[in-house]
């Protein structure tokens, strides 16, 4: 099992992701700089971490989506490699058009940093299979632009396809449909605002995030 965490200038959860994956799965994790034009071979999972890539300039994730390494991440996703974008990583995935919709400023205009209870809306994905019969998980969010938006047509499509994977039980940012995480139609690219990387051991308040990384690698 092998995973990679992409490091953009301004990423700040890259180390957290590495430690979270290592401790929850035992997989080896390579850190890959955004300027790379080649990914390590044999990857089973690629994580785009949280943070403020390129200082959030222009739009969150907009510059990172055009980083050299993203062409390789897209190609890997097309080969079926599992990709998870967390927080800023989710913003990068929508900006790269690897996932539908966009992330707007929080309705409150405030940075929201707190523990959130999530409904596991789709437990049939390769990322959520490990939750089994469980329908709820607890993780934390930390974002100012986590307000998921999609036009009515896109929303109907992703809802109809079962692409909504996580929903907030108590919406912290105004997201349409309480959406906290979505997956692509192929089922191998997941974007989510809550941080599984901040919830992988009981000492952190929740170990529910560990299951996500375990599921992602178990299905590889």
């Amino acid at each position: 099992m092998k995973a990679a965490v992409i490091v953009f200038p301004g990423s700040n959860c890259d180390r957290d992701c590495k430690v979270a994956i290592e401790r929850s799965t035992g997989a080896g994790v390579d850190m890959v700089w955004h300027g790379e034009t080649q990914l390590p071979s044999g990857l089973d999972l690629i994580v785009l971490p949280g943070g403020f890539s390129y200082g959030d300039y222009l739009r969150c994730g907009a510059m990172a989506a055009l980083s050299p390494v993203m062409a390789e991440v897209k190609a890997a996703a097309e080969r079926g490699v599992a990709v998870v974008g967390i927080c800023n990583g989710f913003q990068v995935l929508v900006e790269a058009q690897m996932l539908p919709g966009a992330l707007l400023r929080n309705e409150s205009l405030k940075y929201v940093c707190k523990s959130v209870d999530l409904e596991i809306t789709n437990s049939q994905t390769r990322f959520t299979a490990g939750y089994g019969q469980r329908r709820q998980a607890t993780m934390t969010v930390g974002n100012a632009e986590g307000n998921f938006f999609a036009d009515a047509e896109t929303l109907a499509r992703i809802e109809g396809n079962g692409q909504v994977v996580f929903r907030y039980l108590d919406n912290p940012n105004g997201s349409t449909g309480n959406i906290a995480g979505i997956i692509n139609t192929r089922g191998n690219v997941l974007g989510m605002m809550p941080h599984p990387d901040r919830a992988f051991e009981a000492e952190l308040g929740s170990a529910d995030g560990a299951i996500l990384f375990q599921s992602a690698l178990a299905s590889a």
Partner: protein, 79 residues
């Protein structure tokens, strides 16, 4: 030529900054203010003299980077 690109959230997309500015203006007594939208302006020099070519190039920049057309619309001015 000098290019000026204005980017705004599309009409159907909630502009929370615009709403905050609007309520601040109301609070200051400008009660007749309505529908405030906050956008951004990006200006740059472009080494191109042909207007049609320049416009096509700036449009490509908008589609590729300067605007996210899922949520934003843009307006190009060339001078």
């Amino acid at each position: 030529m000098r290019a000026k690109v204005q980017v705004f959230l599309k009409p159907g997309v909630l502009d929370v900054q615009g709403k905050a500015v609007e309520s601040a203006l109301h609070g200051l007594g400008w009660a007749r203010v309505d529908s405030v939208r906050v956008g951004k302006t990006i200006e740059f020099d472009l080494a191109e003299t042909d207007r049609t070519k320049g416009e096509a190039e700036v449009k490509a920049m908008c589609e590729k980077l300067l605007a996210n057309t899922v949520i934003e619309s843009y307006r190009i001015e060339l001078a």
